[in-house]
Subunit: 425 residues, 2 copies
């Protein structure tokens, strides 16, 4: 480890600026699914969904360079790039989601969604899960009921438990789980009504990524959204992690449940690492928001960012990466199931496309979270050259989310390394 660089970092960024792994990596080069440290050692990146079509994809870099050499400016001039990009982007959504506003980050996108929902409904209450993370601004930090300080004092956010089919809550039964969780959402609606705040909307990541990629009991999202809509609120789908084909089959993770949101927020994979994010929403919501207050974002939607966004769509389509996510995703899931049969510490294997959650438990019956083991596996995987992370209410769910160009050969490296790490526990 480069201790000198770490000490210098502490001096200017502080000791709390987060770093991955026991021994932080110094990465200096990336190509496809591989990243390289300063000594030239390579690591398989199965964590990072930001370099969505692969690190330093030449088509994306070429688009970035060409536009940055030609013109970059804000969106108060006309430019083909933003119009063409947003046309292409919104065409990938249901007809009702026909307009967009671009931002630079997922936090800004969720800020905009909250402002828009509260303006439209005249209500304040937002319903999230109790393991949500949607970004780092104050209004968005209020949603982070798991650990963000602002969430501890706000009155206008209420959380329900992640709608998990693996851990059955006390008082619930396996065959009526969707109703059980929907009733929790209904309680939040009622509480907001008692508080005089009303309900502005429900904001969820439709694949419940931070919740540990829990699998919703079928029908839950429909029931929850129906309840919120009946009270006048909107359905906001946070696709910052699940969007752009990550979950395979569909472009957007909300499509799995078949409920069309009113507002969708986008981020991480959108620009393959370039700061590009945004909101896709019903046209009436965007028009009304624009009439209510001026929104302008200096950098967002600039010609360079939109060239990059277009290039990411090019690669996803030309390299048929959604199909790849389905094929390789199924292959990995089958192999993970086989590991589950071999290692009793694996309590549950969940996946959608190229997004995997492997829940570690110390006992299959009690489902006691094996959080320390999960931490050990993550660090051991890193030492053996494979980057993964962990997530969930108990930080005991191994999280894997490789670039969309991940192949069967890469999968074999991931799975063999995971096999070794689990054997060594």
């Amino acid at each position: 480890m480069n201790k000198q660089l770490l000490m210098r970092r502490y001096e200017v960024l502080g000791k709390s600026a987060p770093l991955f792994y026991d021994e932080p990596l110094e990465l200096v080069r990336g190509e496809g699914v591989w990243v390289y440290d300063a000594s030239g050692r390579r690591f398989l990146d199965t964590y990072n969904n930001v370099p969505h079509v692969g690190h330093c994809h030449p088509h994306v870099v070429a688009a970035l360079t060409a536009q940055a050499s030609t013109f970059n400016s804000h969106t108060r001039y006309l430019h083909e790039n933003i119009v063409g990009y947003v046309e292409r982007l919104t065409a990938k959504f249901a007809d009702s989601l026909s307009m967009a506003m671009l931002t630079c980050t997922g936090s800004e996108a969720n800020e905009l969604a909250l402002r828009m929902a509260r303006q439209h409904t005249g209500a304040q209450g937002i319903i999230v899960t109790s393991c949500a993370y949607h970004g780092n601004t104050e209004a968005v930090a209020e949603l982070g009921t798991a650990f963000m300080p602002e969430a501890r004092t706000t009155q206008r956010v209420l959380a329900f438990p992640p709608p998990c089919s693996y851990r059955i809550p006390v008082g619930a039964s396996a065959d009526s789980l969707a109703d059980f969780y929907a009733a929790e959402v209904a309680k939040a609606v009622a509480t907001f009504s008692q508080r005089g705040l009303g309900v502005a909307g429900i904001l969820i990541c439709p694949e419940f990524a931070n919740e540990g990629l829990v699998m919703e009991p079928p029908g839950f999202i429909e029931k929850a959204v129906d309840c919120v809509r009946a009270a006048g609120g909107l359905y906001i789908a946070d696709e910052v992690q699940g969007g752009f084909g990550r979950t395979g089959e569909h472009w957007w993770s909300h499509q799995h449940a078949g409920v069309i949101p009113d507002i969708v927020t986008l981020g991480k994979p959108m620009g393959n690492g370039h700061p590009l994010a945004g909101v896709v929403a019903r046209a009436d919501l965007i028009e009304a928001f624009g009439d209510w207050g001026m929104y302008f974002n200096t950098f967002a939607g600039n010609p360079v960012s939109c060239a990059v966004g277009n290039a990411v769509l090019d690669v996803l389509e030309q390299e048929d990466l959604l199909s790849n996510a389905v094929t390789v995703g199924h292959y990995i899931a089958e192999r993970l199931d086989a590991l589950q049969a071999k290692y009793s510490i694996i309590g549950d294997v969940r996946h959608k496309g190229l997004f995997f959650g492997v829940e570690l438990v110390s006992d299959q019956d009690s489902k006691q979270p094996a959080s320390v083991s999960a931490m050990r596996v993550v660090n051991e995987m890193c030492r053996k050259g494979v980057l993964i992370s962990r997530i969930g209410l108990h930080d005991n769910v191994l999280k894997m989310r490789p670039p969309m160009s991940f192949t069967h050969e890469h999968a074999d490296i991931l799975l063999e390394t995971l096999d070794h790490c689990l054997a060594d526990l």
Copy 2:
């Protein structure tokens, strides 16, 4: 004008997405201080402080391309670029401002500053001017007392009138103006105390850019900050418009008043158009904030953004652009003074470095704002090939803020065109 593109834009971005000028420009190429429309016509860009060292500066584009081709990732790995960049950046501030947190936008930087100030002080109240704009997230929109909807209902923001030396408010006299405005700040402190909110800080753009580049009565900032600090609050300087040498002589516009802030926010010019912004602050504030809550920003501080930030500093230093801002700034100011002698509609000429405010009034004595004339001048300048804008409480202050590489020859074009437009009024 490209009406077809405008119609397509309306369809996907909505009619409220802001555009400049009566007849919106379609710009397709930029080089130095020049931008070119789709027909090949060139315009002198004297408005845009985002392409700070000039549109598409080859050194900046080369740095962007080289790093984007090599590696881009978040800041949870060690990387020389962010550490080296922040070392270099903080070295340009007073010793007490020794740490930084990077963001993607000025809004995110101001969000962070507000969260940090409120966490540190345990108080909620923020004092701003009544013509402030600091960004587009909810908590930051609350500061936009001039026109942002959230500002109308918040209790935790209070505004004082812009500390202008040109328009003497009723009840004030020219020789005690600093005390008059400082008393307004003291009133806000007292009101927050009555509300039980306390004062977290005063947040100002030290050159009062949105206020029309008003010149503070000497000593005002010191008096105001003393008052806020005596009540336990912090001084937050928003350098999103005034930073990186824009005002000449100093790197930061807060240096003109000689009062060192507790927190400084940076944005627009920082990455020459690439989404790069941040907070520079006292180390104890950043450490305490990091202990309080987790802050992580997926895109901010990535190796590409930091390479771009470094390249901008390279150009500012190598091309000696701060000296240029002083020299060319004085030249333009003298010529604007001459125009004031010629045209009675010019009530006041204000400048710092390469930032100019020309206040138009219909009468020199009553100082009645000539807002409609200002709008006409802005649009006529555009038709004649020079891009400027207008600002201030009454939208009657011509705002000019060209790239830092602006020369005497460019200045002559600007001034001759302005002369013609004023003559035609």
